[in-house]
Amino acid sequence: MRQKLTLALLALMALAIGSQDQDIFFQDGEKSIILRDFVGKSISYTPGQLVRFSGTGSPLTADVRSNGLLLQGNEIQGVAKPIASLFYLEEANLSGSAVAIMDSKVREDFELSKKLRTAPGPEQSRTRIDSARMVYAGTQEEGELTMPAKLRVRSDTTGARTVKKEDKDVAQTYTQALDLVGTSGAISLDPNAKTSSTNLKKGTIQGPVEFTFLRSETDAGAKEPAITNLVGRGDKLIFDFTGTARTITLVGNVHLVGTGSFNGETNVDKLIITVDEKLQPIRYETEGNPSTTKMKTGDGGK
């Protein structure tokens, strides 16, 4: 009986794998780009030149593993560029419940399989963006998504690092989750999360913008993690993690309430949050009037 069940399960798995394989419209020889579930479809391919593709589906998927980028939607026009034997997404116009997922682990696993890197990185970051429409323009190392319609961004990072505490090196693990919505925006993404501890490089989100940010840090040997929890809103949000001064700026009708590194509540015209290289908030600055800020005693609130 158990043998029969095992065989049936194996058969189902084989069927599922075969079915998934059959859904593929196009994939290159190195499987750096896989187009799946295209109903209407066309592609133009000339070795060594740009690959142009388009299609419809409900939804279709463009899995650009060399970029660590997965696009889903009901309609797409795209261009992929060959570099060495791999393809990288150069342009894409996506519409109809569009989803973009940039996952550093996908890129990392792909690069490990192609021996383009020798070891996994210390952290993983996955960013998902939902919008009715989006336009992607990118290179091998970065991509910019422009969303002219309402959008939602969810970015999760996990990692490990060593921090100095009382002149001692302390091993620390952390998780971080950002969830924000806006009415339109443009975001630059880093597939390798090289710039900082996230796929997000810089961007501008038009509002009203609402966001939540949750970060949990656990030192080796600690009983409980240190948690930073922020809930905010504003008319516009600008973030830039590319320079040495990494900032998140909220402009217009800003409201922020938090615990942890920011322990309190503020209503201001402008709020600049400076973060470290791992996106841990380290400084909060407010500008403009009227401004009301209540800070609780204890942790946070610099």
Binding site: F26, G40, S42, I43, Y45, T46
Partner: protein
């Protein structure tokens, strides 16, 4: 053994063939050796025109050197005519073949030579002066090989209609065009580079049209088209489109493709 058909207007002419038939093997050669016919048994008449009419069976081989055409089969009905350029030579005008049919067209190209082999269970060939028309039904296999570069195209299907060069030269080989229907499969092998075997493109569909006269030459596949590249530098996989057009270079190698449809 020889039959003079009542409707034949001309006078039947018995030639050296009669001796061969007596030994159970038929062989006909024109005066220049440009047309050679071999078979186990044959009926042979000359009709007005003149037209040499052969009814051949058993390991039939018709070798027309003027057209670079060789036809082999088990049963062949053949019409041959004297060459307009050289009265000592004869050429195939029409042939109808049944059983293990193979048509081989050999031509010289600017880059060397190309051999096109087409096989089927029955078929016919018509010399239309400006070109040659081959009809085959199947299953059929068509192999188009550059003898110098080893680049090749192999196509299989249920039926094939091919138009070939009239003589023994051709810019891109002996095949001007070919249409295969049925469950079609093509394999395009690129020429070896630096001693390494060339990559391979395998494609399937319900119909294939090979246009070797257009610039660039194209292979158009239609009906549930799937394609797969194999070997170094191959493109990968493409599945389930209604139409795909492969472009080729003058050497017969595929240089790209575009697709459309659901």
């Amino acid at each position: 053994m020889f039959v003079k058909r009542p409707f034949v207007l001309g006078i039947a002419v018995f030639v050296v063939a009669s001796l061969a038939i007596g030994q159970g093997v038929f062989r006909y050669t024109d005066q220049a050796g440009a047309l050679v016919v071999n078979a186990k048994s044959a009926r042979f008449t000359q009709a007005a025109g003149p037209v040499y009419k052969f009814t051949l069976s058993g390991n039939v081989v018709v070798d027309d050197k003027t057209q670079g055409l060789k036809l082999s089969s088990q049963q062949v009905t053949l019409d041959a005519v004297p060459s307009k350029a050289d009265s000592k030579k004869s050429e195939v005008r029409k042939a109808i073949a049944t059983g293990g049919v193979q048509v081989t067209k050999t031509v010289t190209t600017p880059r060397g030579g190309r051999i096109t082999k087409m096989t089927g269970s029955k078929g016919d060939y018509t010399n239309r002066t400006s070109d040659g028309l081959v009809n085959l039904s199947g299953p059929v296999t068509m192999t188009n090989l550059d003898s110098a570069s080893q680049q090749s195209l192999v196509a299989t299907g249920s039926t094939a209609v091919a138009i070939v060069e009239p003589k023994t030269t051709g810019k891109r080989g002996g095949l001007r065009s070919a249409t295969l229907t049925g469950s079609v499969k093509i394999t395009v092998v690129q020429a070896p580079v630096g001693g390494k075997k060339g990559s391979t493109m395998v494609a399937t569909g319900n119909r294939m049209v090979f246009d070797n006269l257009s610039t660039p030459p194209t292979i158009t596949l239609s009906g549930n088209v799937n394609m797969e590249g194999r070997g170094p530098g191959s493109f990968g996989t493409m599945r389930g489109v209604s139409r795909a057009v492969l472009t080729l270079n003058d050497d017969g190698e595929w240089t790209g493709f575009s697709t459309e449809g659901t």
